[in-house]
């Protein structure tokens, strides 16, 4: 009898347990913990698993706190143990509509290299979203969880105080509600960033590939269509709304210029001149006067930087290099450009004279990008002379000579002083020269460093390392060298996304790009950096930086630099790539890879300082 009782109890418990595990569930996770399609935290983020309950208070409410003029973000994860329909509804009541919810469904990318799923692309959905699991288009047959990214936007003029909201999941007869409490702080996130984060790209043929349906409707005229220019502007907008900027290089390594990147030229020698601005102005006009951003939350603003089409083959033909005809072609056309920009009052943008070619691509006999051989620098000096000749003294149009430097940067900082004003430096080699950023900025130059986005297989906080390093180093910005190239099949055979931070929205019925989780985390990081930098009137910048570094990975500021290696005193054409690698070991070992919670800690640090400042 006793044995029967025991069996009954076990059976009863099993039934109860199965009922519990079969129940639908709705979970809120901090932005740094990404879920996979089965409800587990993805492996690279498990280092931050202790954050899992950090959003909840003791009453199981989701507690959010944010400054005005920015975003607070988190994940919601819908879990259904069995296939079925569901509806998710997220709201925060604000009668003034100064607090708004942006909801995104997270796409689970299958990465071929490690055969796992990672969420990254964010598909905008209405704040009431109905679908089923498994999600039909994501095609994961055993899917039991769907993650959503929630952006809570707090306008700069929102009223400080507390707002209530909820996330409600309906699945079959079950209804589950997570109460949300948002505290809007009185502080306002500075609109200007402490660090410029650039998202680079090359040409525009990739747009036709990624928006193939649009292109196929009229391939003959697509590159001159309103859709095409609208799409380019949409790329600028998506990066701008995420506190970044966007660059599109308009020429190839041998000097071929895409028609939309340059005015049309005619003639030769001293008769060479501009005959049409039509495509150029359609492309750039709304970017230079800011109207392309009129509907943005951040407001209308001209783009701060743009590549010019100038290269060794444009506007002057390389056929005449070194001759009077080359100088005439260059000077006359660049003068016409300056006049056009001035007449249009496009005076808020830095127009970059930038040489991207490398001799290994066989177009020209000198490296414009990453000069290694000092003999190539004579070309820079000559272009500096030509540019000076082309521009009237005191022009309000901002032409700036940019150089992307690595090997020989220390010598170039000296030799090209007064010629190059915008330095984009390789991060590894710049880490040898701790005094360089201050020296360059003190003389009025702008300094960025460059690298590439982390993979989705890295921890969620990995993307924050680049802007943080820029701020700790005291440089003006950071460049992701390629950010619009997610590979042939990012949806089902993903390469990890080290060349993409946005995706085409065309597969989801949209005519614009869609963001990624990494881009959102980067934006939130930039918000915090703007806050921290904004506190420098109350604390020393060094102290703020030291606090952020300590919070991030328990590092000291010196850990972010490398000792000047012996090779720095050798001519750069004697350096080996592997030796550079060795010379950057120090910082790699000291810093390690950022754990998922790294930026969470910096965010808390910023919030604490803000509260103290108040």
């Amino acid at each position: 009898m006793r044995r029967l009782q025991t069996r009954f109890v076990v059976l009863f418990l099993m039934v109860i347990y199965s009922q519990v595990s079969l129940a639908a569930d709705l979970e809120a996770l901090p932005e740094f913990l990404r879920s996979d399609p089965f409800g587990a935290i993805v492996a690279p983020d498990r280092s931050g698993a202790d954050l899992a309950s950090s959003l909840y208070d003791t009453q199981h409410r989701v507690i959010l706190t944010g400054s005005r003029g920015g975003y607070v973000s988190f994940h919601l994860v819908v879990k259904l143990p069995l296939p079925g329909l569901y509806t998710l509804d997220v709201k925060i009541s604000d009668p003034t509509n100064k607090v708004q919810i942006d909801l995104f469904r997270e796409w689970f990318h299958f990465t071929d290299s490690d055969k796992h799923y990672y969420p990254d692309a964010l598909i905008p959905v209405h704040s009431t979203y109905s679908s089923r699991l498994p999600e039909p288009d994501n095609r994961i047959s055993q899917q039991t969880a769907q993650a959503f990214w929630v952006d809570v936007y707090i306008a700069p003029d929102a009223h400080p105080g507390t707002l209530s909201g909820s996330a409600t999941l309906k699945a079959g007869t079950e209804i589950m509600t997570l109460p949300i409490q948002l505290t809007v702080m009185a502080s306002v996130i500075p609109a200007e960033d402490a660090v410029t984060v650039d998202h680079n790209s090359y040409g525009s043929s990739w747009l036709a590939q990624q928006f193939a349906a649009s292109y196929q409707r009229d391939p003959e005229h697509w590159f001159e269509s309103n859709q095409f220019f609208g799409l380019i502007h949409a790329y600028h907008r998506i990066f701008f709304e995420h506190r970044g900027i966007f660059h599109q290089l308009g020429y190839g390594h041998s000097g071929k210029v895409g028609p939309e990147f340059a005015p049309v030229l005619d003639g030769s020698g001293k008769r060479k001149h501009i005959t049409s601005w039509s495509l150029y102005d359609r492309h750039y006009g709304p970017l230079f006067d800011g109207t392309a951003f009129s509907a943005c939350r951040r407001g209308r603003r001209p783009i701060p930087f743009v590549y010019l089409p100038i290269n060794p083959e444009w506007p002057a033909s390389y056929e005449f290099w070194g001759e009077a005809g080359y100088e005439a072609e260059f000077v006359n056309v660049v003068s016409e450009m300056e006049r056009h920009f001035r007449e249009k009052a496009w005076t808020h943008t830095n127009f970059e004279v930038f040489f991207n070619h490398k001799k290994r691509y066989k177009g020209f006999p000198w490296d414009g990008d990453e000069v290694r051989f000092p003999k190539d620098l004579k070309y820079f000096i000559e272009y500096g002379r030509l540019l000076k000749k082309a521009l009237p003294a005191g022009t309000p149009v901002q032409f700036v000579f940019r150089a992307d430097v690595s090997w020989d940067m220390e010598q170039q900082f000296g030799l090209l002083e007064g010629v190059v004003k915008l330095w984009c430096a390789g991060g590894g080699i710049l880490s040898f020269y701790k005094d360089a950023p201050k020296m360059l900025r003190n003389r009025g130059d702008v300094v960025w460093y460059y690298g590439g986005p982390p993979s989705v297989m890295d921890s969620s906080s990995a993307i924050t390392e680049f802007p943080l390093r820029a701020w700790l180093w005291g440089v003006n910005g950071y460049v992701h060298w390629l950010t619009v190239s997610p590979g042939e099949d990012p949806w089902f055979h993903f390469n990890g996304g080290q060349t993409a931070l946005v995706y085409s929205g065309e597969g989801f019925g949209m005519t614009e790009p869609i963001p990624s989780i990494r881009l959102k985390i980067q934006r939130n990081c930039l918000q915090d950096l703007a806050v921290l930098d904004g506190l420098k009137g109350r604390m020393s910048l060094d102290s703020l930086r030291a606090g952020a570094a300590r919070s991030y990975n328990n590092s000291a500021l010196d850990d972010w630099w490398n000792p000047r290696p012996a090779l720095a005193d050798l001519p750069s054409d004697q350096w080996l790539g592997s030796a550079i690698d060795d010379a950057t070991k120090h910082s790699r070992q000291r810093l390690g890879h950022p754990v998922a919670s790294a930026w969470y800690n910096v965010h808390r640090y910023a919030l604490t300082l803000q509260a103290e400042a108040k």
Binding site: G252, H253, S254, S317, W321, K362, F364, P365, G577, S578
Partner: protein, 196 residues
């Protein structure tokens, strides 16, 4: 007056047709003929001795170098003599003006000690080549190139749909074929291709 108007209309129509013919696949014979003319002239005016001075000894030494910790070793050591390069490049650009349509004249050189391999040494502003795989320092020599280098004959290649290349020998002062030029165009030029 009406007759004049009609005459002008007919002339415009003919001019328009002949202009379009350059972009029409059926008119590729004209393309081929012009490219062959350019190649023939190029064989005479491109100076093989100068071409041989373009790629530096250092670049040649590193061309096939492999280092597992340094995937860019060969590219990072690629270097040219800019005076020789500019001299030949200017000639190639002027040659391309002989065609009445957008065309490039590229210089290819065999690699000493590596039979079957060839490298593109100079490209030009339309970024056209039927043989160059974007970014590669050197590649496998196609049989037509081998023919040109061995026999000194010009060879027309239309392997890639819509592309026409004429390969022609480049001689040095000893009378040896030391390289070849590729005069190349496309039946339909893609304004956005290779802007990267």
């Amino acid at each position: 007056m009406k007759i004049l108007y009609l005459f002008a209309l007919v002339v415009s129509f003919i001019v328009l047709l002949s202009g379009n013919a350059k972009l029409n696949p059926e008119a590729s014979t004209d393309l081929e003929r012009q490219l062959d003319d350019v190649a023939r002239v190029g064989s005479v005016v491109v100076d093989g001795d100068v071409c041989q001075k373009i790629v530096t000894r250092r670049a040649k030494e590193f061309l096939f170098a492999k280092e597992f910790r340094d995937e860019f070793l060969a590219g990072d050591n690629y270097d040219v003599d800019d005076v020789a390069f500019n001299t030949v490049k200017k000639t190639l650009i002027r040659l391309s003006h002989l065609a009445s349509f957008p065309a490039d004249v590229n210089l290819w050189m065999p690699i000493e000690g590596h039979p079957g391999k060839i490298q593109l040494v100079i490209r030009n502003k339309n970024e056209m080549s039927q043989f160059w795989n974007w970014g590669e320092l050197y590649g496998d020599m196609v049989p037509q190139m081998e023919t040109v280098l061995k026999t000194g004959q010009r060879v027309t290649v239309t392997n890639k749909p819509g592309w026409i290349s004429v390969l022609a020998p480049v001689y040095n002062s000893s009378g040896d074929v030391v390289g070849l030029i590729e005069t190349v165009s496309q039946v339909k030029v893609d304004a956005h291709e290779n802007v990267k």
